[in-house]
Symmetry: C2
């Protein structure tokens, strides 16, 4: 059996027919089934097999890792898990995060032609299990690793990648790039976007720009990746490779991984000296509440009674909430909980001066958050409440700190 | 002072400079200020004024209402409030819903060239204050009015228009069109989209199609409107005129209001007989919960302990939730609360078979909702729980009932 062959394989758990894909693990046969999914079969579990059709020979080999320092710039890849650093669980067929950073580099040896590459696994989770404590770990690891590297790439699951990007944007101030990268298709599938996303992320990490960014496919084909600002990006599709989109702004740059070129679409500050400051104070008692017709306003009381310090409402339209929850919002504000408003339309700006509902909410003390993405407002409120007194928090929540607010009208 | 003049007006509350806009109310001068907003000034409050520049004469007149039946088809416009049926509050400058359906027709007399028009105000609210009880009122009014009309147009605020469209889609089965229409700019502004949206909605309401639809601008210019399926549409921008977009599907038709033409983009069933059935049973104890890193899983216990029958999770990615809330989800399911999964990416399909997190959630009993929009899943779960026993609800939640699931891969 060779890569490309159409085979029928009998195992003790059933019979599988499909095309053999390249497999990183020599003990495993990876098969693309007709339904489009891949399945991994341990060679030792194969009872017998039949080659239905010989495929064309596909070249697929891993060169030895060459980590010698031959480039000017050194880029560290910190892996946290997720699809970009995952492989199929050959017991269940599900995808688990189990690549180390070394595996990543081994899978994409071209990275070594772009920069000196360091790799370090710092977490091994699927990003749906991300939590604020881990954001703090990541920030601390970035600071440590920055002593050795000129730029940092963080391989991260896509589910909550934009939340982490936003959190790091507030917590880490750097004069070198911190690039979060993910993949929508697992990296042991030939159809994976991990390969080009990773190359693009390392290209971006070599630039002398500061701050936190996200690099992901720009289109469903493999033409280019986008460099998104970490506080202005969102996962807007569950499975497409171009799921990540800049919201209420334009992407920073287009990255052409095959040409190894970056085209900046905006002016960005350039730095010659490497500096980093981190501030990992986060108030965890902050809630994000989506508003909808028929919602139970007592959910607000629930959080207030549990000692929550901040609530981000994901309102309707220009930043509205049903008048039947006004009393609950009043309860929150009377008890010292800071309540801020974003919009569930995702795109567009909150404007609470146009309709009576918005005006009434402002009278209650609800603070409009301009064009901040709801998830970013959640992270920002955690950061502000972790560092400032209430008056300062109210003053800063709708002031632009790190690019999360775009005052240009969209 | 005439329409188009640039004037400076002094009132007892301040001095205003701007261009005079057409005003529906003869007692009021509407001024477009330099900041882009309109202000209404009661003539009796004007202390003095100065004409800074004479404008070009703009023709603007309202013909008398002519409600004689000269067309084959009669369309009823039921107004519920909202921007499409609102005018500026001349005391505060804010926008209030205060047009009656007759006012709407008076403002867009061209409607009378398209069909015999009936108008009836059934609610007078801003749609941010919408609640399930009102959905029931609207369904009942549709049934009553359908005796007199061949098609129904519902003028509705845009904030929660898509929630109402989804609710009516499940509650009302009709062989004639029910068209929800809104406006992003208030209808007494010349820049309003109300005019073309209304004409387009009446054009759509004349078609011999069944079911519930939304008609709104298709682009930011005035070229065409889209006819969206009521269960596949979402407000994706807070202020743009083309804020409403079909999600995980294609719009049903393009409507060219100036040419008075409809171009269908899909095949739709056609009906010759007028039938309607309504089912207004809704279980109100259903919650929509957005999942995010650091979320407090006890929010689920809160709802369960309050006797909630259903919970829609707006998960991450392909339909995931942090493992640290699994115990709370288990608590809900153990107590008989039905928990279903959608995705906060808005676009794309839930697939809980790919990653271990999704598989574990399914083992707990969480039901994936295919490509249903989270807000639509919320409404659907209310409808199902209002009408069926739990086993049937679990069976139907991810089966297509009225077009809310698109099995074609997107």
């Amino acid at each position: 059996m060779e890569v490309g062959d159409v085979v029928k394989i009998k195992t003790n758990t059933g019979e599988f027919e499909g095309v053999i894909l390249p497999s990183i693990n020599k003990d495993v046969i990876t098969l693309k089934l007709k339904n489009g999914y891949n399945v991994g079969i341990l060679r030792e579990n194969i009872i017998n097999y039949e080659i239905i059709e010989k495929g064309k020979k596909i070249e697929y080999k891993y060169p030895p890792l060459n980590l010698e320092k031959k480039h000017d710039k050194t880029i560290s890849i910190l892996s946290t898990g997720g699809t970009v650093a995952s492989k199929v669980d050959y017991r269940t067929g599900a995808v688990h995060p189990s690549f180390t950073a070394d595996d990543l580099i081994r899978a994409v040896p071209e990275l070594m032609d772009i920069a000196n590459i360091r790799g370090k696994p710092i977490l091994n989770i699927l990003s749906e299990n991300m939590k604020p404590e881990y954001w703090i770990n990541i920030a601390e690891e970035i600071k440590k690793e920055s002593k050795e590297a000129d730029g940092i790439v963080i391989a991260h699951g896509t589910d909550t990648l934009s939340y982490t990007a936003a959190a790091l944007s507030f917590m880490v101030k750097s004069t070198f790039p911190i690039i979060l990268v993910g993949a929508q298709r697992s990296s042991d599938r030939p159809s994976s976007d991990a390969y080009l996303n990773l190359i693009s992320s390392v290209l971006a990490a070599k630039e002398n720009i500061g701050g936190v960014y996200v690099v992901m496919h720009g289109t469903i084909d493999d033409k280019f990746c986008y460099l998104h600002k970490g506080v202005k990006v969102r996962k807007n599709h569950s499975s497409r490779r171009d799921a990540f989109q800049t919201v209420n702004d334009e992407p920073i740059a287009k990255i052409y991984p095959l040409d190894k070129k970056i085209k900046f679409l905006k002016d960005v500050d350039r730095y010659n000296e490497k500096k980093i400051e981190i501030n990992t104070n986060l108030e965890k008692k902050v809630a994000l509440i989506k508003v909808y017709p028929g919602m139970d306003g007592e959910i607000i009381n629930f959080y207030v009674d549990k000692g929550y310090k901040g609530i981000v409402l994901e309102g309707t339209g220009l930043g509205h909430a049903p008048e039947y929850i006004f009393e609950n919002i009043k309860y929150a504000i009377d008890n010292g909980t800071i309540v801020v408003m974003t919009t569930q339309t995702i795109y567009g700006r909150v404007n609470m001066n146009v309709y009576s509902n918005g005006r009434e909410l402002q009278k209650l003390g609800v603070i409009p958050c301009e064009d901040i993405i709801p998830e970013v407002a959640y992270v920002k409120l955690m950061y502000l409440l972790g560092n400032y007194d209430d008056e300062k928090v109210k003053e800063l929540i709708n002031k632009n700190l790190v690019g999360e607010i775009n005052y240009r009208l969209i």
